[in-house]
């Protein structure tokens, strides 16, 4: 059978090293340029806020639509095993969940821990039960008029179409077993998409047209309900625009820069080593054992 035996020879490795380092450096620069075009305003609000408070922001540049508005939590382990597993996707798709099947939602299974299908929480589980319940409304400070942020379209379309369906009949909002009366509530769906890391932000509203103007003050009215102090978490709000690579994510840019530089350094040292103390390939003198 034929075949090829590729070798890692200097002539193949060193050019590749240069090539990759060039690609990485170019990408790094592109990334930094792109990132610099993203505007982001983030402000923590949990410290000085009682039940209700206002926060004022003032963009230093025009922020063109789409402008995304997020709430951001830290030190919040949505990815904790106990938390993440405590939900029933079946129930969220609108099917009835029997008490027996609700064991996946442990410890939030049924009202008063009654062992009956009727008493199973709608929806059950820690994730739904701990839903973030602060609310925000954004206004121009001077006019006290609401800016055109919409809370529609913040959830994934695929979730709205397939993953989250209201049960039939709809849960009674007043029943003690009801945790969320509308499963298709987009804030609910966004919350149910758990974050993989303890610091995360979730989309709250989008400015689809228009802009946040430069040097104009905007007030965010906050209803502060969600407790974070007991576990040393923080809450912030955040406005951000996006480019082709998303938000102000400079980590990836730095990674490309560092790797690009490292590869360049390696390429140069390999070249020097090869030119100064290189080894001739395929020379029979290396097969010295045959001569003994």
């Amino acid at each position: 059978m034929g075949g090829k035996n590729p070798l890692l020879t200097p002539k193949c490795v060193i050019p590749f090293c240069y090539l990759f380092s060039a690609i990485f450096l170019v990408l790094a620069i592109t990334l930094f340029v792109s990132i610099s075009k993203v505007d982001e305003i983030t402000q923590r609000y949990d410290k000085d806020c009682t039940t209700k408070c206002n926060i004022t922001i003032e963009p230093t540049k025009d922020m063109l639509a789409p402008v995304y508005f997020y709430y951001q939590l830290t030190n919040y382990h949505q990815n904790h095993r106990k938390y993440i597993k405590s939900r029933s996707d079946k129930q969220l798709r609108g099917e009835t969940l029997s008490y027996a099947d609700s064991s996946v939602c442990d410890p939030i299974r049924s009202y008063d821990d009654k062992e009956s299908t009727k008493e199973v929480y709608e929806p059950c589980g820690l994730v739904a039960w701990s839903k973030f319940n602060d609310t925000f409304s954004i206004m121009e400070e001077s006019t006290q008029k609401s800016v055109g942020f919409t809370e529609k379209g913040i959830a994934w379309e695929s979730d709205l179409d397939e993953k989250f369906k209201n049960p039939d009949p709809l849960p009674d909002p007043d029943s003690p077993t009801t945790i969320q009366s509308n499963y298709q509530d987009e804030h609910f769906i966004v919350w149910m998409r758990v974050a993989p890391l303890p610091t995360f932000r979730k989309l709250y509203a989008i400015l689809k047209t228009g802009k946040l103007e430069k040097n104009k003050k905007y007030t965010i009215q906050i209803e502060n309900n969600y407790p974070v102090h007991q576990f040393e978490g923080t809450k912030s709000i955040s406005f951000s625009t996006s480019t082709w690579i998303g938000g102000k994510n400079s980590a990836i840019g730095w990674c490309y820069l560092v790797i690009g530089l490292l590869l360049l350094a390696l390429s140069i040292s390999f070249t020097l080593k090869h030119l100064l103390w290189g080894r001739e390939l395929g020379n029979s003198k290396y097969l010295s054992w045959n001569k003994n």
């Binding site: 106990k82 994934w156 303890p198 998303g246 990836i252 790797i259 390939l281």
Partner: protein
Amino acid sequence: MWRKKNKETKRLSFANNSLLNERYVKNQVTNSKYKWWNFIPLNLWEQFGRFMNQYFLLIACLQLWTEITPVDPETTWGPLAFIFLLAALKEGLDDLNRHKGDKKANERMYHIIRDEEPMDVMSKDISVGDILYLEENMESPCDIVLLSSSNEDGSCYIQTANLDGETDLKPRLGLPNTASLGTEEALCSFKGVVECKPPNPDIYVFDSRLKMQPDDSEEDILSLSVSQIILQGVHLRNTEYVYGLTVYTGNQSKLGMNKLTPDTKWTKIDKQINRTTLFIFACQFLFLLIFGITGGVWKSKTGKDKFYLYYPEDERWFQPLVIPLRFMLLMSLMIPISLKVTLDICKYIYASLINWDLEMWDDENEMGAHASNTAISEDLGQIEYIFSDKTGTLTENIMEFKKCSIFGKSYGTKHRNSSALEDPELLKDINEQRPEVILFFKNLALNQSVVPSYPETDSDDEDDLSDSDEEQEIIYKASSPDEEALVKAASKLGIKFTERKTDLLTIVVNKKPIQYQLIQTLEFSSERKRMSVLVREVDSRQIFLFTKGADDVILERIRDGQETTKTIKHLERFAKNGLRTLLCGYRTVSEEELEEFLKDFKKANNEIENRDQELEKVFSKFEQDFILLGATAIEDKLQDEVPQTIRILREAGIKFWMLTGDKFSTAVQIAKSCNLMPYDGLLFPIEGADQGEVENSLDKISEEVQNLDKNFYIIVQGSTLKIALGEVKHKLLNLSLQASSVICCRTTPQQKAGVVQMVKELGKMTLAIGDGGNDVTMIQTAHVGVGIAGREGLQAVRASDYSISRFKFLRRLMLVHGRYSYYRTTFLAQYSFYKSIFFCVIQLTFNFWTGFSGMSFFNSLSVMTYNGVFTAIPIFFFLLDKDVSEESVYLNPHLYRDSSQGRFYNKKTLFWWFIRAIYQGVLAMVMLAGIYQGRGYIYPSDGSGIDNQLLSMTGFTIVIQIQTFTMALETKHWTFYNHFIIWGFLVFFYISTIIANTLPNLEIYYLLFRAYSDPIHWLSCVLINTIVLAPVIIAKYWSAQYIPNRADLVREREVYYRSRGLPINAADATILNNLNSTEGRVIPAYNSSDFGINGILTPFKDCFGKSDFEELNKKDPLTTLIIENIQNDILKKKTQEVRTQRELDKKKKNVGLNKSNSDDSSNSDSSTTASSTTEDEDDELNN
């Protein structure tokens, strides 16, 4: 019932009396292991007997506990069930076939006589004591004692192919007393009783007795031996029918008793892999503790403050165990569940590759290599010591009568290659009917166990003889090639053995038939080392005892005062020429002596317990006082390419020892001619008749070799070896290990095995190769047993792990198949560990962000498909990988050291694989977390933050990419299949994820569409792949470039040639081809006083001058090519010149030109010495 409890001490088989035989089992044969109802429990029980299966079962059971399982239980249950099903299916199918075979055998109909009634019964209903009727070509269903046959004398022929694979016909002979029971009526009234040993597995011994009537007295008891027994499974041939009394039935037959399943052999690498598994197991436990405790602390310190985690105030008792157990399950993947199955399948494929290898196909025998043991191919690559038999293994075992010495006159000794058969002296002496010469050849013609047969019709041979001497060639069927050669030689010289009847031998001397009554054959055995026949010349009533055998035994037994010096001198010359020698003698026997002998013989022959020893005593007493007739010398040619093979194996760093039954000088001669002992070494014989002497001898040699810078060799005789293997074993061992080679001559099978055992006990990997029954113990003792399907039957082959048809194929079997198998298995095992650890490291790293809660980063589907599909299947195509080409291994046998010294799998290699797994796992996870950190990441088209599932799938995609590139990086030999599978699986991954994406019920619904449409996804793929793979590539580049190992250098050279459009190693191969014959020459006889002859083999590399390629490299490819061609031409011319020169030299010296090509190509350095030696020798012989 009480009888069953008592151990059977002797078996009695009563004819026509079924009541007395009832206690014995019927002839039901069962080879099957299971019944339909116990298959499932029994098979499961067997499979769960293995530790790893128990471990996986525990893991699978723990996964049923939802509180702790990180992923769905199917991830373990699925593969576990699959693996169990696969194993059970294989077992089940095998057993089904056995059942079918059993049923067929058990339901075959046979005609028997029981209780004086003839009847037809199924095979399974035959019982002990039945008289069985067998027709020609039928297979015997049980062990029977031959009573009578269609021949009047009660003889028949059988073929024992089922038992030992031998296809020659063996005679069996009913006792005269029973041979007369020719009819069914007579047999119906036969009341004989056979008394024999309880069922036993010894197929070569059947010492038992027959009473014609149950109440016969002791004197009338007849003795039975192997020549009366027809064993289960043998076929009746050339005989119309036989009757026999059943003695052993069913699984108690000799064949049945031999069906013990041998212990499974474990290869060295298997054991290493097991140790690694245990190490990983320990690591797993350590991690479990560390993460379990950290998780517990986090929970009580931090976790309880988090309202959303809803930790209750009081815990259940098992709660503290939950987190450690979660980590245990998370890490259970570290030991790949599929490893055992993967390796088993690979081993099976290695064995198939051996079976299919056409390079090991022998046209002459129409046979290829065969791996009977499919599980130990890797061991072929790890051999440190080879123990080889001589006759039939290194040599052809085609014997040719070459020379003889009769009453002090030698024939056929004109020169080395001349044959006595063409010696005019001898022809003249025969024509003159010189009595001693005629007697000598009569001995050869009569003293044998050969069966003559005629190829065509049964026409009267003696008439044809005068007309067409040439055409009517008799075919002699012999079990020993030596005998065949001797009988043939006698026949060529006109003393023709023509017919063997039961007790009548006919020879034709000078065209006159002479008949001899065969009174007794005193058979050959490797202990007796001689064979004698006692015959009476029918016409003259004279009784002769002819003997032939090894020199030492015969010389002990000749009449005092004979002139033997000349014969002994000739004998020594013959032996030094590498010929196999025998001494012949005879004496006449008087009627009184004969009577006494027959009486002693009968008495000894009736013994059941110690028959062999008793017989030997009687024979030994009788075989005395011989008149020495002379000596015969038979040539056994070396097999082709034996010297080259041995040279390559030795260059590969393997110690090659020769263990032979031949005598000292023959062994030394063969060792010299087959490169086992080149001329530059010194030979030290170990001598001594008792322990003290042997010890002295050992000490003396040890002292001498202390400051020796030359190779030295040790030779030891069987008798000395026996002593040396006792108390002073360590000294022998010490010395042997320093020696370049050890030659043991005059050894018994047990001693051969003892030597192998001695080396094996040191932990060295051993391989034994042989072709005959006397090698079986040695083959079974060694780690790897190789049998040569030769002319001495198939006993060795049946006992061996591998069978080949020529010795030279050993080179390919070990250097190519062994080395590749080892290379491939080590990669597969280490890669399997690596990819599993890598995966687990990611899981563990992720838990630094989850509060050490034992969360799985990957979802169930990923976990299952990672180990079960995406990494499990592509690695099979690593089975095609070659680190260097086959030709290169032959040209650089040193490469074998890579595998024999375990360079591919050791602590160092494992360390680097583990480091790689940890580095890559940690870095990949940290990078992912950095890029998808909660603050900065925004999905560009809709502004969503990162989702856990999305990150998990992104991570999984990158993991698959890393593994694809890792496999690509590790593949050294790319074929279409590698490309297809490696890249094909990446494509397959993308296709299957896209399909899975469209299924709304799956967790990953729509996720990957989002991922793939996000530029950050692709940027992180490139980034993370580069970060984890670049150090690997750089390390590989650096080590291949600046600290290259052997394989690296050889691979470079291959590429060098390819880049110039030449076949691999073209130039090297040319050199080798041109000089191959030089290496393979047969070296002329050596001088006994001159063990250190200075004919040094010129290494072929020197012929090409010093590193020519250095210059070549600097020029452009075209010029290089031309120069190479020119140089090749020059080389050819040079070689031609050397040859012509040599031939001229020879002609000048007027030494008889040899026909064999081997001598023509003697090395120029040694040719002068060599030919002059030949000359001297021949002159002496002529005297």
